[in-house]
Amino acid sequence: MKTLNLEAKIGAILLVLLVLMALFAPLIAPGDPLAISGEAMLRPFASEAHWLGTDRLGRDVLAGLVHGTRTTLLVAFFSAAAALIVGSIVGTLSGFLGGLADIVLMRITEAFQTVPGFLLALATISVTGPSVPTLILAISLGNWTQAARVTRAEVLSLRERDFVAAARTLGMRPLEIAFREILPNAFGPTASLAAISVATAILIEAALSFLGFGDPNRVTWGSMIAEGRTVLRAAPYLSIVPGIALVVTVLSIHLIGRGLSHTERLQP
Amino acid sequence: MTETYLNVRNLNVSYGKTIAIRNVSLQLAKGDRLALIGMSGSGKSTLAMAIAGLLPKQAHIEGTIDFAGRRPKLGSDIGVLFQDASGSLDPVMKVGDQIAEVVMTHLGMSWISARVRAAELLDRVKIPKALSRLNSYPHEFSGGQKQRIALAAALAGNPSILIADEPTSALDTVIQKHIVDLLGELVKDGGLTLLFVTHDIALASQQADQIAVIYQGEVVEAGASGQLLREPRHPYTKALINTHISLDRPRSKRLPQIDMAGLQ
């Protein structure tokens, strides 16, 4: 791997810290983060037991923040992975098969692009009900199209190359060629989309839970922001603190993505 | 004896460890026409661009370039014509505007008179229906026409020196000849000083009254073209002449493939 630039290093360090926080959440903040643990509406740094204060009901903000990392990262990584996998498969099929299959698949891709991803997620949740797996499904539904387009373009340029012709003369079947030879080679540019996908997923998950369509049995940063909103005048920090966590997480992913992408073009 | 017009003294150019130009000195009088010849990678373009002041940032330059007591200014003292014409025209601006903006910048004319002047220039480089083509975009012209337009833009600021870096080698033979003739005509009519970079020794003798031969970043031989062709002194020049490069041959055969080992 080539050496990372400073920005990417900062991003990577932040992300590692976040992942550690998610993994060791039960150790950092033991107990149920949704349980009432003290006096309500304590200000940050006012109490030893509640560093970041407590919310309207007396739940610890730090515990919510730490456990919220779990939900955020879980949903974001799995839905981005699902989106990338589905996108690359559709893109590979479309680019490799060509003809009618290509037309149909690209029209479907376009249709998914045409419906705003957030609305699609909202609609899906309204049918399936909110839980972690359905959130992953809902978010990836609107997130796979770009991967499909990028993979397809890459496949179209790759299929003319030598090693594909070589595979053909070796008598590999078309689909075998597509998935054994072309897909792995086309994956590079697709992977640089990963950062954007993860960031998008985090933001959609946050927005969904902010609106109250997140998993009700889990703490999420979005729901914490929504919680805090009800006492925005008296305790703005309740909304602001989890939002900062969101910004830091998304920023760390963008920093990594920009450091990894060769062209710097895919990553706005 | 005319006074020295452009004076290049002890010029050295290096790109990191690669030394592209070694201690080159040149004097040009007004109206001189000098051809730089040499094989690929010898440093012709580097020398020409150093004089124009267009070398990339990573180039390290030493020595002086003096034009009437100062550094020459691009556009108004020096016009430059590149090998790739479409590479010097903005793809999304009307050619008339591209010429007119040079006129405005250097001659301080109003927009209207600059456009009129642009039409004159297009006419001078023999673009048919010049006035109506002012509003066309570069992609609407052929390769040869684009090179003519680039020439018009290069001359729009009334420079007295024209530097042409292989202006025809991207074009096919017939069009090459048209451009070369046009260039010769404009240079003669305008009394321009010409610095002409080429691989092609026949073209050099036809276009220029002086030739400088560059080999590995050094001027190994320079002089009046007739003299130099008749009595070459440096073995490299002799080898160049012996390959009988001429305009009539297909371009692929003209590139001098000279075995330098025997010449050292």
Partner: protein, 326 residues
């Protein structure tokens, strides 16, 4: 055929299958949810006897096969009938027609602001790629790009509405102010400042980066050397040539951005209590009003298609290398 007409025809031909797929998708969602819709309706309207329920199911075609329902759905759609909103007790079409203009207004101001300011800052950064100014702006835009709009909205409310009391906390206009004409427009403008900012910032960051990256690419294009060789001022090269070339591909982003911004308007309108199309989507889900939700999906797809059409049309006008209809 005149080039513009054939352009529209061609676009319509590609848009139709896309719309059809969206339609099928919506219908499948409707199918998956329709049981709930009747239950929800029953739950809300209180006591319905078995006969009334059966009547309702028949009206909604629930006693027939899915193909029959799809046909009925499409036939109704073709007549501009998006169904009956159970939450609003009104035709979906009329609810959407009431809400959509608000969001379109919000979105067009936000898009204009994001595109204008974003491109300007992008030019400032891209004028000298690698300079200190470029690094500052690029990093700043990356940070801004990470800020969720709804949270930014809350922060803006805390600062400008709660603490400073400069701007209203939410709503589209002052309630029962009795204002009319210019005074009313000014009132609406004041109310839209914060939501527009909350909605626009992410895209401002996006356009900044796109513009900057494109300019960095254009600088490497050989024609820029040709411009330098003609002695043009750097200012002229930056604004009239490099920025002008860079802005064209950025413009093509505007169409798809409308889709993302429609999504963003859902949360931003909720934060600022703006009675718009975006918040309608959230309300439809919260109140289990599936016909309304599908109407919203369909209308946003149409909005995005139209936005892309307009962008392509504008692009054809702006890029001389593209000639529409050819």
């Amino acid at each position: 055929m005149p080039p513009l007409a054939s352009f529209f025809l061609k676009r319509l031909l590609t848009a139709l299958p896309v719309l059809f797929i969206v339609l099928v998708g919506s219908f499948l969602l409707l199918e998956a949810a329709s049981g709930d819709a009747v239950d929800a309706y029953i739950a809300r309207s209180g006591t319905l006897d078995a006969q009334q329920i059966a009547q309702l199911r028949m009206e909604w075609g629930l006693d027939q096969g899915p193909l029959y329902r799809f046909e009925a759905y499409v036939t109704a759609l073709a007549q501009g009938d998006l169904g009956w909103s159970t939450a609003f007790e009104r035709p979906v079409t009329s609810v959407i027609a009431e809400r959509l203009p608000v969001t379109l207004l919000l979105m067009s101001i936000a898009t204009g602001l994001a595109f204008f300011l974003g491109s300007l800052l992008g030019i400032a950064a891209g004028a000298r790629p690698g300079s200190v100014r470029d690094r500052l702006l690029s990093t700043g835009s990356l940070a801004l790009y990470a800020v969720p709009g709804f949270w930014l909205g809350l922060v803006l409310i805390v600062v400008f509405a709660v603490d400073l009391r400069w701007l209203p906390i939410g709503g589209m206009e002052s309630i029962a102010s009795g204002k009319a004409g210019l005074a009313r427009m000014a009132d609406i403008a004041v109310h839209l400042v914060l939501p527009v900012c909350a909605l626009a910032m992410v895209y401002l960051a996006l356009y900044l980066r796109l513009m900057r990256d494109r300019m960095a690419e254009i600088w490497r294009d050989p024609f820029v050397k040709g411009l330098e060789a003609r002695g043009l001022t750097r200012r002229r090269i930056v604004w009239r040539h490099v920025a002008r070339n860079a802005v064209l591909p950025v413009i093509t982003m505007l169409g798809w951005q409308s889709a993302a911004m429609l999504g963003g308007s859902v949360v931003v309108e909720s934060v600022f209590s703006i009675p718009g199309f975006g918040r309608l989507a959230a309300e439809a889900v919260a109140r289990r009003d599936t016909p309304l939700l599908l109407g919203v999906l369909l209308c946003s797809a149409i909005t995005v298609i139209i936005a892309n059409l307009l962008v392509d049309l504008a692009y054809g006008k702006l890029d001389p290398r593209v000639r529409i209809g050819r």
